[in-house]
Symmetry: C2
Subunit: 225 residues, 2 copies
Amino acid sequence: MSRGVPEATLARLPVYLRALTTLDAGGGATVSSEELATVAGVNSAKLRKDLSYLGSYGVRGVGYDVEYLRYQISRVIGLTEDRPVVIVGVGNLGHALGGYSGFANRGFRVIALLDADPRRAGDLVGDHVVRPVEDLPDVVATGGPCIGVITTPAEAAQDVADRLVAAGVRSILNFAPAVLAVPDGVDVRNVDLSLELQILAYHERRRPAPLAEGAPAGLAPVGPA
Amino acid sequence: MSRGVPEATLARLPVYLRALTTLDAGGGATVSSEELATVAGVNSAKLRKDLSYLGSYGVRGVGYDVEYLRYQISRVIGLTEDRPVVIVGVGNLGHALGGYSGFANRGFRVIALLDADPRRAGDLVGDHVVRPVEDLPDVVATGGPCIGVITTPAEAAQDVADRLVAAGVRSILNFAPAVLAVPDGVDVRNVDLSLELQILAYHERRRPAPLAEGAPAGLAPVGPA
DNA sequence: GCGACTTTGTGCTCCCGTTCACGAGTACCT
DNA sequence: AGGTACTCGTGAACGGGAGCACAAAGTCGC
């Protein structure tokens, strides 16, 4: 059922979608869970269970119809219609996201870039003119229910979050290294770039005897079994 | 014990570290788990359990010494020494990360930016001159055990990953929307920007309740249709 | 010194997610 | 038609993490 997809599954659906898109170009009209799982980098049983939450879109003995499955996943995630995005904070990262083609390709449309610094207002980033952060209510009112992206320094993040919420935004993607306080009903996801590095650093540090081979690394065939 | 911190805990340690840093400026020499948990946005019991994996650094009836705890977490994560980072792919995102101050502040030092496009080689990004991707072995050999960051388009990601592994890199942070195949012993973390948006879009779509100014703090039954 | 108070550290339970293993349904060959 | 090979869907076992509640341990006031 499309009612109530587990959070862990939901996080993998976009990956399956990507995998299907690459396979679609490949020609084959159907895929087995085994193939698709390999491309998506997961266990085939997990893949099947994940897909079963959406409904029975596979055919036993055959596999899944690539095109159909792709549509179904898109539908569940809600990508069948374009979704507007506003980016607040036109620093390095905001600048990059404003020009990131990966958003448009996946049904997201950046409708505005805003910045608190009045000197930045008026700058041109890609197709967009940077607007002052005070314009938020107008932007959201015009653009419909949209997703707010915060790419400001940590100090400004909470203020921006408050403004977004006040403007009616209920989904926030936060790149600032700060914990945001928002009212119930508002969904916040945090992406902390240095956090990821720190996790990697931890694991790297716990590998005591790694370099045994004379050569740093040969062209080890990457066969994940 | 610092041997074997659970993965979920590990992901929160950097958040605690941030919280401690902000508190440190605030003056108080000690914090209770309750305070720190509030700032970090987690449950106090969870915080205590997390910290207990590192050792008994708190004092009952008093709390945790801010400075000491900060050092201990840094030590466990492995941030007491600078860690070199190489960024491959100088597009929008690579450009942004190359100039991101959040890395330097947390013990990561970008030692090189590389790109496969020879026309980009020689460009100046921040303090760094962009080098051709063929220089990877040299860079890694000189810089020591470092973390590789992939900010290329998806098509180039696997090739870059192979090059990184061949050069001896065993920790990779991948921003390209692609699943990387790497040999055992190499750690890959994926950050997919549009994946996060897709998850938000799903939740947004499942909220039938239109936004009314009167806060829906109560358990509003989420009636379908 | 002693009791009251504060706060940590942790045993225990519950729940979510992963994985295995197998029944059920489909296609194809003889 | 019957048998065989293949693949999905899922019940059940398993493991890890979250949260509760409390005992242990320390501080403070007198």
